[in-house]
Amino acid sequence: MMATNEKKIIPLEFEQPLAVLAQQIEALERQLGDNPDLEGDIDRLQEQYTQLKKSLYVNLRPIDHLAIARHSQRPYSRDYFAIWDPGFIELHGDRTGADDEAMVGGLLTLGGIKMVAVGTQKGRSLREKQACNFGMPQPEGYRKALRLFRHADKFGLPILTLIDTPGAYPGLSAEEHNQAQAIAENLFELSGLTVPVVAVVTGEGGSGGALAIGVANRILMLEHSVYSVISPEGCASILWRSNDKVSDACQAMKMTAREILQLGVIDQVIDEPLGGAHHDYQLAASNLACAVVKQMTGLMKMSKEEVRRDRQNKFRNFGAFTEV
């Protein structure tokens, strides 16, 4: 439980009671050498800690899921690729002038299946964060993804995409290089591919910038990930005209994995290690791999035309309206 040989996990705001308890246990453990009698107390606190941890994650509010999805230690696309396949072959560049580090892609083998994998990438250190633009791709990133999708289609390789982005980058050059067109073209081209596409929202599914690599036959979400039409901050500022209504916006938009499953937009919610994927990279990666391989295996039985129609029909049916 108290993983001492691993990096320390930074507690979130709603996890503070848990963190306090952990500190007490640590303090007692330090004194244990001088006072062996403390062992009983420690056991009791450990038991309390386990109970609290279990109950804490049962009824999370949408904004708590958001906090876990955005946790700075959450595994990112590169982490999954590295755990899954040490021989991952990264492919770079959009071929027209840039290699956007916010979008990673390459050749990956998972569960024996050779595929093209593409994912958004947030940075860990400040330098990395800046290089990756905090996970917000430029048009060049979407065009890099598109180039890889076309490569996969040509050679009949199934496609896996991992989505964890606040959204497409809102910047001067992004607009000048036609961010909107880059996203639109990906939606357009993805819908016509003849190879299976599985998309997983692993963290933040931020609006059109997420959907641009999310037009898939099967869409999965990690338990604590979120997916929304606009950031909750953006929603709160527009609809409530207030910065402190983010929690209300999270609630109103129905952006958690379970809610989106209920709306029928995604196919599966993948369990995370207790407290979130950042508590156990290996377990998170293996849960994710199991789900992806299972879905992919099913899709690979379809013909090219079936796989394409399957994806088009899926999106054709999204919407809620009446005609009377």
Partner: protein, 309 residues
Amino acid sequence: MDLKEWFASRQKRKELQENIKQPLTTEEYCALWTQCFQCRELLYTKDLRANLQVCPKCQYHFRVGALDRIDQMADAGSFVELDAVMTSTDPLKFFDTEAYAKRQQEACRKSGLKEAVVTGIAAINGQPVALGAMDFGHFGGSMGSVVGEKVTRLAEEATSNRIPLIVVSSSGGARMQEGILSLMQMAKTSSALKTYHEAGGLYISILAEPTFGGVTASFAMLGDLVIAEPGARIGFAGRRVIEQTIRQKLPADFQTAEYLLKHGQVDMVVERSNLKDRLSRIISYHDLTRTGPAGEPANGTVKSGQLTK
């Protein structure tokens, strides 16, 4: 002046005031006159409308409602509306400071429309086309399930009839109140356009003031040809969001139609008075009987000439 006279004159003054006041309620005054946003000229609303909502003095292109837009583009009496009764439901039971259902009612009352896009089959100088026009005056032209579905069906109608598709966009983006379902409309419309494209269709996208967010990042930017109206602001992210993100001042003409033209994002900027004629001439270059997979005749119901009485 005796008391009787005084009362009489007071009564008269009161009537006079009421008479003067009546035609001058702000609402009526505003309906009668429109001040140009750009040159500040006070324009007679009726004249402005007759001039296609373009300021005769400075050529500022005012926003046009969906029905007026169709009137301006389609041959008189040719427009046959599709999916006229389709309305949004409230899939999320969305509530911010007010219920979405209530906001929808309010939007309908203001615009006189059921939704933010009107679609149908029309003729442009005798040529049948599938025509859609968005209305910024209805819920900010935002795309929810209905806008997505109507645009998708319009593209499908154009596909099965093998006729050109024209959509005039004017939208703030995806409709937040329908959450993730609104986002999915971007993929749905784009997918329908892919099918239309492969069938050999000609899609002309017209970008009107303003076109942003999820609409720009889906069907609005997917035209075989993209035309913008003068001065229209077009982009993915809003100007304010960008300024907050990059913390620098943006060029004054940033995200205008002319700026997009300079940056290679639109084929042309066309004045409203020339739009119909330009569309008609463009269409004449594209023979849809010669495009698409060979040996697959159009299987729709609209025949060329059916709409030209």
